[in-house]
Symmetry: C2
Subunit: 207 residues, 2 copies
DNA sequence: TAGATTGTTAATCGATTAACAATC
DNA sequence: TAGATTGTTAATCGATTAACAATC
C-alpha cells in the first residue's frame, strides 16, 4: 500500500486515533469496532473495512488492541513524530489553544507564539513558550522549519497574518477567524467554524 | 422538495452560507460557483448541482446574487431565525467564544453562560451575558427552551456537564475538550478537534 | 463449547467530475 | 456579438451497508 490514501480514509483514520488516545487514557486496553462507532458515528463495518485494507490488526471475538492499533494508524498516517506549529495571536483564544492538552497529546508542539502587543511580548504562555514579536515571525518560522500556522487573531488581521506565514514557507493554515483567506493553491486552509457546524446540526434536529 | 437533505448536502450548504456571509461583508453583490469553490475546495460543478436541485438561483454568464442566495439557502436549511445556545465554562476559551462574532453573524445567540467559579458568577462576558452559577443550569436551560450546549470546560468535567445539559433537554452538544462523551442516541455530539484535523492535513502534505 | 467480533463479499447508493448546450 | 457562467447530462468512482463465514 504505497498508494496515497483518499481524503475520506485519512480523515476517518485520524478520528480513530482520537478515540484510541482517549480510551487509552481511560485505562482501556482493547476496543471493538462497535465501540469506536458509538463515539464517531462512523459505521462499524466501515471501520473494520478501513483497517483491514492495511492488515489484520484485530482478533475475532475480542477486538483491537489499543496500543498496537495506535501504532499501526500512526504508521499509516506517517505522523509518529513531533510536529512543530506556529501560533499567531496570544489573546484569550491563543492562550486557550496553547494551554489545551489537545495538541500535545497528539505530538503537536507549539514551537513559537507571536503577538503584536508589546505588553505581551516576552511573557510566557501556559505551554511554556515565550511570546515573540510579530516582526520576528518570518525569521523564527524559517529557522524552525515550521510548516503549520494557527491563526488566533481577529478577522481584520487574518489575511495579513496569513500572507506573512505563507511568505515564510508555511503550507497548512488553521484559521480560527470568520475571515475568508486568499492563499496560493499549494497552501491548505482549514477554517474552524462552529457556527456553520451548528446550522448543519440544527437542520437535522428540526427536520 | 420536502425530502430530508442528505448529510453531505446539508454540510455543504452551510459552508456556502459562510462564504456568502463573508463575501457580503466585503461588499460583494454577486459570486460565481468557481469563486465559492476557491474558498471551500468543493468542486464548482458540485456547487451548481447542489443549488440547482432547489431552483434556478443563478444567472448564466453572471453568477449568483449574494443576498438572494443567502435567503434561499437559509430557507432550505430552515435556519432563518435566532437560535439560543447555552455556553458552559467562562474561562479563556469560553470568553473567546462569547466574544467572537462568528456565532452572532449566523443568528446564534448565547442566551446563558455557566461557570462553577464563585468569583466569576454575576459578572458579564463580552457578549453582554451574565455568568450564572452552574447549579442554575437546568432551570435556565428549561426556561429558555435551549437545545444546544457548548462545552468550554476541561476534559475532566466534560461528562458531568454533558449529563446535566442532556438531563435538561439539550439535544446538540459542541464539545471543545478532548474527552469522549457518552450520551443517549438522540443527542448529537460535535467534537472540535484541531489536532485530529492537523494530523489529517499533514498526511496530505507529507505524501 | 458458546458467545463475540473480525474480515470480507456483494449490492446499493450518493458524490464527484468532465463536458457542453443554453443563455445572460 | 463575444465572453462568461449556469444548469444538466452521463459516466465513473468511492462510501456505505447488510450479511455471514471464519475464528478467537
Amino acid at each position: 500500500m504505497s498508494d496515497r490514501l483518499t481524503v475520506g480514509v485519512a480523515a476517518r483514520l485520524s478520528r480513530y486515533l482520537q478515540v484510541l488516545t482517549q480510551s487509552k487514557k481511560m485505562g482501556k486496553e482493547r476496543i471493538s469496532s462497535q465501540e469506536i462507532s458509538d463515539y464517531t458515528n462512523i459505521n462499524a463495518t466501515q471501520i473494520r473495512r478501513d483497517l483491514s485494507a492495511f492488515g489484520k490488526f484485530g482478533k475475532r471475538g475480542v477486538g483491537y488492541g489499543i496500543d498496537s492499533l495506535l501504532a499501526e494508524i500512526r504508521g499509516i498516517l506517517r505522523t509518529q513524530g513531533q510536529h512543530n506549529v506556529a501560533l499567531v495571536g496570544a489573546g484569550r483564544l491563543g492562550q486557550a489553544i496553547a494551554g489545551s492538552p489537545i495538541f500535545a497529546e497528539h505530538g503537536i508542539n507549539i514551537a513559537a507564539v507571536f503577538d503584536n502587543d508589546p505588553a505581551k511580548v516576552g511573557r510566557s504562555l501556559d505551554g511554556g513558550v515565550e511570546i515573540s514579536d510579530f516582526t520576528r515571525l518570518s525569521t523564527l518560522v524559517r529557522e524552525k522549519n515550521i510548516i503549520v500556522g494557527v491563526l488566533a487573531v481577529p478577522a481584520t488581521n487574518a489575511q495579513v497574518v496569513a500572507n506573512e506565514l505563507v511568505g515564510s514557507g508555511v503550507k497548512i493554515l488553521f484559521n480560527y477567524s470568520e475571515a475568508l483567506l486568499d492563499v496560493p493553491s499549494d497552501v491548505a486552509v482549514h477554517t474552524s467554524n462552529p457556527a456553520v457546524e451548528l446550522l448543519h446540526a440544527l437542520y437535522f434536529h428540526l427536520a
